[in-house]
């Protein structure tokens, strides 16, 4: 126990199967006891208090919940938490260290790649996966890579520019 106490629910229903999972989240091993039906997005948000991962559609269309799962972008509302047991997850909170900004974060701000900000964490995680694999993408490659993430505010043009800004900065580093 990391606390001196642990609050238990008033009545445990023995009929509900639960399972302990341990996930390496943003470089730290985090554990939880979960029902098998709990979605990874909900464990991250409610269980681990990482509220930067958003949910916007429930049908894996919007991509606001995108995280990196063993380095690959996945929609965390499409995965059960138990499927992540023993795997590595990176959320927006893990993109840069405290008081640091990743080039993608800087790019989104510099190029006005966000407005309401709700889709932004998912957009940036997908962008990170793209740039990890393809450090110098064309506009078409960026648009294709981001086509699983919906944005209602920007019209995407500035998001594309933001990713290009980040690619340039990362290559200069």
């Amino acid at each position: 126990m990391s606390n001196l106490y642990e609050v238990l629910p008033p009545e445990l229903d023995d009929d509900v199967p639960v399972r302990k999972v341990t996930i390496r989240v943003n470089g730290e091993n985090l554990s939880a006891v979960v029902e098998p039906r709990l979605l990874l997005a909900h464990l991250l948000r409610q269980g681990f208090k990482l509220t930067g991962t958003h949910t916007g559609c429930d049908t894996s269309n919007c991509g606001a919940c995108t995280v990196l799962f063993d380095g690959q972008p996945v929609k965390s509302c499409t995965m059960f938490a138990v499927q992540a047991d023993g795997h590595e997850v990176m959320t927006i909170e893990g993109l840069a260290g405290p008081s640091e900004l990743h080039a993608i974060q800087e790019g989104f701000k510099e190029e006005h790649g966000l407005q309401c900000g709700f889709c932004t964490p998912g957009m940036m995680m997908t962008s990170k996966a793209l740039l990890d694999e393809n450090p110098n993408p064309t506009e078409d490659e960026i648009r294709w890579a981001l086509s699983g993430n919906l944005c209602r505010c920007t019209g995407y043009q500035n998001i594309v520019k933001a990713v290009m800004w980040a690619a340039t900065k990362l290559q200069d580093q």
Binding site: N61, C116, C119, W144, L146, R152, T154
Partner: protein, 795 residues
């Protein structure tokens, strides 16, 4: 000492990077679902699977028995507290939880409050509702037919399904214009039902504290003060005990203006349980039950002389409002600002007849990225203009130009009574035509046609009324549509600004500070902007209808000027001269005869707390309430070129040129962002966004697999241009911009496709112009209607 450099301090015209981004790019925004209160419970809503049915009984016993369930609410629970129905913003009533009948698929029937959202959802499924199906109506023409089932049998004096009949304009004069016309051109359109669909759905957390009697509600609302007033009226709670907090909002677009049953139910649940209750809507709930937009039938005709001058216009609109008339709009106008159509053209006579109809569909009629039905108005206008130009055999650009209100004709009274006050319509059109290479494209089009390729060009030009509005004409539920700003300059010269608006991504935290910087010379980074908390923000009407900059933004300028007026007195005291001898330049007062002798605004701030003149009230705070003298009238010219594939009906955008004149631009970067967002929604309307219903009233388009939003892949690139005609009455010359492209854009896309089909006899394809619709039009040479089905047979 000299004046400060305005761009350096982030004043007007600076492409200042956004302050709010600092938290959003780190995933540290504070949206409704991120908020967790101690002891918080979770609410889920059970919705009706049927579009029209009588409720025989509801059995909640199994739900109550489930572990973790704290409360089950039904219409009966609500009715016992006089909360089964609530007033709408359009003087109708709307069911909170159904008692007698359900009137659309997705209507709220019961709520479960439980320890966990999963448990609440499980328990909803355990509720047994016995429905007696009734015949549903999803087509308003069928709703108007004799013998149609009465949808609102709950209302007295409601013999049929008509909500209102309304008209405006001069019928006699318009009839005479048509009698004198050489050419009369007609068009019939359906602007389909659409949904704003911000990526964040709606939600609330109600927190009633019995010991203090205070009700705090966190809510996804674009207008927290209106909500406070509405809650006070609906829940009969004292207004000082109600605090509405609108946290970061994940997009609004009009979807988050109305009061929804979920908000009301969560409030009652918190009062009954004395614990915080959170309700987070799922996407299907959002799409099938909250504020849809459009869904209107537009018929009209133009009377013209042979030379192309327009003599008169007739419009007839039939709006499908769904089961409850819950539009959020100024109370004087039943069909919003529909009668602002044709405002950029000099037309002497006009007459509009509007009818509103109930159907078994979700209520709404919200202004989706639009100033109260102007989207429909401008779409009709520009489709009509193109059809008329074609009928006359005139060039579509030239036809617009000869009918434009000219630059020296302002102020100009439109035939429906609006006063437009500024613009350079011809110049905007020229900039657009030049940018797209109009003449070259026409040649290219002709060449391509010889090889069987279908190219088309569509133009849409319009001025729209933004920034409601002056108190003579505009109110919601009787509350005048002013707005407000409060500015507190602290002793160190840093400041706190609050307004009655509530941004949802428009960047208020950034731009409002730029206005203060422009007026006072205080660097923008020294100004903290806060909005959205009714306990701290001054009363305002919120953010929608592109009204923030025209109204709240003006209030920011005016409160800054009040501060400057007081600071001037302090400066005179510090400089030991009379006030008349004090001059101002940005950030600094100085002695007229000795410009080197001066004091900065920051030095005045220190003195306001430490060395004020005798008899002066200490401090440097003030509040301004701004009642605009008129609406603002931005102008836009959107030009789209397309190629239509005759084999498949697929159309691709070749170029998209936008020329916007929104007056003075506070932050050009943010303005351009607004335009691009609007263009994307215009493209979405024209191409894919579609919510319809089958004859049984099932909503087709209840998730993002069926209701398509454009992604980065298909969204075209934008070419932006600007013209600046300052607003003559706005303190900093600005006009609204957030919605122009979504309003004026759709017609440009449709006009382009129809232009590509010129010669086939096709005058109209209703949006969205799906490839199968375009293909069918090409094959048959006939117009394509997108109206929902008419039901036949028994229930």
């Amino acid at each position: 000492m000299t004046a400060v450099d305005e761009i350096k301090i982030g004043g007007m015209g600076a492409r200042r990077r956004r302050v709010e981004d600092n938290r959003f790019i780190r995933g540290k925004g504070n949206y409704i679902d991120d908020i967790v209160l101690p002891g918080m419970l979770h609410m889920e809503i059970l919705r009706s699977p049927l579009a029209h049915a009588r409720i025989r009984s509801i059995d909640t016993s199994k739900a109550w028995a489930m572990p973790g369930v704290r409360l089950v609410l039904t219409g009966e629970t609500m009715a016992a507290r006089n909360l089964a129905w609530m007033p709408t913003l359009s003087y109708d009533t709307q069911a909170v939880l159904a008692t007698d009948k359900v009137r659309f698929q997705g209507q709220e029937v019961a709520c479960v409050i439980a320890d966990d959202p999963y448990i609440a959802k499980d328990a909803c499924e355990a509720i047994m509702v016995d429905y007696e199906p009734l015949p549903p109506i999803v087509n308003p023409m069928q709703s108007l037919a004799e013998g149609a089932p009465l949808i609102r049998d709950d209302k007295e004096n409601q013999p049929d399904n008509v909500i209102y009949d309304w008209e405006v304009g001069d019928k006699g004069g318009t009839d005479r214009a048509f009698a004198e016309a050489d050419v009369v051109s007609k068009i019939e359109l359906h602007y389909p039902r659409s949904h704003p669909s911000p990526i964040e759905c709606c939600g609330s957390i109600a927190d009633f504290n019995r010991s203090t009697s205070k009700l705090t509600v966190y809510m996804t609302t674009q207008a927290p003060h209106i909500i406070r007033a509405a809650v006070a009226m609906v829940a009969e709670l004292p207004e000082q005990m109600i605090r509405i907090i609108s946290p970061d909002i994940g997009g609004g677009f009009g979807n988050k203006v109305p009061v929804y049953p979920g908000y009301v139910a969560s409030i009652l649940a918190s009062i009954l349980l004395e614990r915080p209750v959170k309700w987070i809507e799922d996407r299907t709930g959002n799409l099938i039950s909250t504020g849809f937009a459009r869904d209107i039938y537009l018929h009209g005709e133009l009377a013209m002389r042979k030379d192309g001058r327009i003599l008169g216009v007739r419009m007839q609109t039939t709006a499908d409002h769904g089961a409850f008339f819950s539009d959020a709009q100024p109370s004087k106008f039943k069909i919003g600002l529909m009668h602002s159509a044709f405002a950029c053209y000099d037309i002497p006579n006009a007459h509009l007849v509007a009818r509103g109809v109930y159907t078994n569909k979700a209520p709404g009629g919200v202004a989706y990225r639009c100033s109260f039905r102007v989207t429909e108005a401008m779409f009709f206008q520009e489709r009509m203009i193109q059809a008329a130009a074609d009928d006359l055999g005139m060039d579509q650009a030239e036809f617009r130009r000869i009918n434009f209100v000219r630059d020296d004709d302002f102020p100009h009274r439109t035939p429906w009574g609006f006063l437009t006050d500024s613009g350079q319509y011809g110049k905007c059109l020229d900039v657009g035509l030049e940018a797209v290479g109009y003449q070259d494209f026409l040649k290219q089009k002709e060449e391509a046609a010889k090889r069987g390729r279908l190219l088309g060009i569509g133009i849409s030009t319009m001025t729209e009324p933004l920034g409601a509005g002056n108190s003579r004409e505009y109110d919601i539920l009787g509350i005048k549509m002013f707005d407000s700003a409060e500015l507190k300059v602290h002793i160190t010269g840093k400041a706190l600004l609050r307004t009655g608006a509530r941004g949802q991504g428009q960047g208020h935290e950034t731009t409002w500070a730029q206005i203060v910087a422009h007026e006072l010379g205080i660097p923008a980074e020294d100004i903290l902007v806060e909005e959205g908390d009714t306990d701290t923000a001054p009363f305002g009407m919120g953010t929608y209808a592109s009204r923030s900059t025209p109204v709240a933004g003006a209030a920011v300028a005016m409160v800054s000027r009040k501060i400057r007026a007081k600071a001037r007195k302090i400066a005179a005291h510090l400089l030991e001269i009379s006030e008349e001898d004090v001059e101002w330049e940005l950030g600094r007062f100085y002695v007229r005869s000795q410009p080197d002798r001066g004091v900065t605004i920051q030095e005045c701030a220190v003195a306001a707390y430490s060395n004020m003149p005798d008899g002066m009230e200490p401090g440097l705070d003030n509040t301004a309430y701004y009642d605009p003298p008129n609406l603002t009238w931005p102008f836009a010219c959107y030009i789209v070129t397309v190629e239509v594939d005759p084999e498949t009906g697929v159309w691709d955008v070749l170029r998209l040129v936008a020329v916007d004149d929104c007056g003075v631009r506070i932050n050009p970067m943010i303005v351009e962002g607004q335009i691009m967002g609007g263009l994307t929604e215009a493209y979405a309307m024209a191409n894919m966004q579609f919510i319809t219903f089958d004859a049984e009233g099932n909503c087709i388009g209840s998730n993002f697999t069926d209701y398509l939003l454009p992604t980065a892949w298909e969204t075209p690139g934008f070419e932006l241009h600007e013209v600046v005609t300052p607003c003559p009455h706005h303190p900093i010359g600005a006009k609204g911009i957030g919605e122009c492209a979504a309003v004026g854009g759709p017609a440009a896309f449709v006009n382009a496709v129809i232009d590509a089909l010129k010669g086939t006899g096709v005058r109209n394809i209703d949006m969205p112009m799906f490839p199968d619709r375009v293909y069918e039009a090409l094959q048959t040479g006939k117009d394509i209607s997108g109206a929902p089905p008419v039901r036949t047979g028994e229930a």
